[in-house]
Amino acid sequence: MFDIPLQVLLGQITIGLVNGCFYAILSLGLALIFGLLNVINFAHGALYMLGAFGVYLAMQKLGVNYWWSLLLVPVVVGAFGALVERLLLRRLIGLDHLYGLLFTFGLALVLEGIFRDIYGSAGLPYPTPPALRGLVDLGFMRMPIYRVWIVGASLVVCFATWFLIERTRLGSYLRAGTENAKMVQALGINVPLMVTFVYALGAALAAFAGVLAAPIYQVQPLMGSNILIVTFAVVVIGGLGSTAGAIATGLALGVIEGLSKVFYPEVSSTIVFIVMALVLLVRPAGLFGREA
């Protein structure tokens, strides 16, 4: 274990942190949507992919730079999400939650299929924005600035979302809606509008992660489904009940995955699932779960 250079170890930990940020943002969105809509959003990975393609296409076709994309792409994808919820998902309210999952599964296939049809399965490169190129010296190691930026930006967004849900009036409505939507509606709060907002917010978060991911991973139609399945495992481990729990679990699993790449690369693609299996054996309800 001591023959591994510190640089390599720290490097993998930061890559792990970066992935952990994506898991955290995605599972946060999944948890939000599940709380209010009772739907596991299988299209979440596709929305993440849309974010990455959004920033890529904005640069290629419209000449929009990274910073504007970071702001605009989540808004556009969020609007798309609102549209999907209003026009289609809304029809499934009150049905078994499996139908929501199956519907979004179909939606993911369609979205991924369209992009694969146009752009193929090969990855498209997106350049790191000039301001974020190069390395930063952290004293004990040198780290690419872009990775620091991803971790910083993700933590800010995660904190903002947590704050919105746990500390604001709107958030209290959302939490109340999760507990008992009918009662909240009876108190005069526009629940259908809130549902649309939550789906749009989840979609925007996924797209934000996609924009962040574009410069380090190649922009690729299937990038979403791969990360989504890992995120599902993260959600199973953490449970959907707690906002902070979802963020912490996502980050922790990213780091564990990064460490496995150093010590035992063969399991790096399966380690999250192995952790999930272990957690299920010890604590079937998940680390922060409330459901038995």
Partner: protein, 339 residues
């Protein structure tokens, strides 16, 4: 013999007749064998999800590993088909027990996510393990003689063999559902707390059903590998789990023959679309072969939004409502005569 048993016997005979007549219509045996393999897969999936009410998104793991097991045993160890399929069955049972044992601990939406995650883990193992041939898969899997005596090298003989397996499986599932075990499964699906309070060990029943389903899904993978001579990563990929869900949803989840019809439709659609290739519709040129996932996704969404009971489910519902209407008309007439 009660009424439901009569219906199920009639359905079984209909299935056998259609299966036997199919090669005479000029359809390729290759196509028919693929239909049979996937229909068997869909029937296995339907047995669990349709009757227990939990959605598994992990059945591709059983199908894929079953295919590898049969392919490897045949190719490397020279197993005869019946032994190779037994190997698929055993692999399905083992994997089903392990995956089911973990997933059964959670309900509803979590169950779906756990099965998907565990199946993805199996997929990654398949990518790395030495026995799968990685990207190439196992190709040119030979067809040895059945029991060492019956030659299966002709497609027609092979088709007859796998058709028999599928019909036997459908019959087996019907028998299970008519048995006390099957009735308890339905009771659990409809009202789990009540089943628990009646003293049934619900988890054990669910796990048994999951394992049976996994075993037959593995068998279906073996059938696929032996008939088409190929086992590879796409068999174990999560999109294959999606496909089998679509087959059941399209045909009618929980109905006895819906999955078979759904499987035939999906296989036909896929081969038809990729066969058509590039078509010209007015000014638009479309390469249909690359649009299969999009069309599959659209069918998914349409099914969920518009006809959730599937083809068989909608037809039987239409029959039932027509019957109810006739009955009410007859009742009205009786009343008017009486008054």
């Amino acid at each position: 013999m009660n009424r439901t048993m009569k219906t199920s016997t009639a359905l079984l005979i209909a299935l056998a007749v259609v299966g036997v007549l199919a090669p005479m219509t000029g359809l390729y045996p290759q196509f028919l064998m693929k239909c049979v393999a996937l229909a068997l897969f869909a029937v296995a999936f339907n047995f669990f999800t349709g009757n227990v009410g939990l959605l598994s998104i992990g059945h591709a793991a059983f199908f894929g590993m079953g295919a590898y097991a049969a392919g490897y045993a045949t190719k490397e160890w020279g197993f005869t088909p019946e032994l190779a399929l037994a190997a698929s069955l055993v692999v399905g049972i083992a994997l089903g027990l392990v995956m089911g044992g973990m997933a059964i601990r959670r309900q509803g939406i979590y169950f779906a996510m756990i099965t998907l995650a565990l199946a993805q883990m199996v997929y990654f193992v398949c990518v790395q393990a030495p026995f799968t041939g990685a990207e190439d898969g196992l190709q040119r899997i030979p067809r040895h003689s059945l029991f060492g005596v019956i030659d299966l090298s002709s497609d027609l003989m092979m088709y007859a063999f796998v058709l028999a397996i599928m019909i036997a499986s459908v019959w087996g599932f019907q028998r299970i559902m008519e048995s006390p075990f099957g009735q308890v499964l339905l009771a659990i699906r409809d009202n789990e707390p009540r089943a628990i309070s009646l003293g049934y060990d619900v988890q054990k029943y669910k796990l048994s059903a999951f394992t049976i389903s996994a075993a037959v899904a593995g068998l279906a993978g073996g059938v696929k590998a032996l008939t088409l001579g190929f086992a590879g990563l796409p068999d174990a990929h999560w999109t294959q789990s999606g496909n089998v869900i679509l087959m059941c949803l399209l045909g009618g989840l929980g109905t006895p023959l819906g999955p078979v019809i759904g499987a035939i439709l999906v296989v036909a659609l896929e081969s038809r679309l990729s066969g058509l290739g590039v078509v010209q519709i007015g000014p638009v040129t479309l390469d249909l072969s690359s649009k299969v996932p999009i069309i599959i996704g659209l069918i998914f969404m349409t099914c969920v939004l518009l006809f959730r009971r599937g083809i068989v489910g909608e037809i039987s519902a239409a029959f039932a409502s027509a019957k109810a209407r006739r009955k009410s008309v007859a009742d009205d007439e009786k009343k008017s005569v009486a008054s």
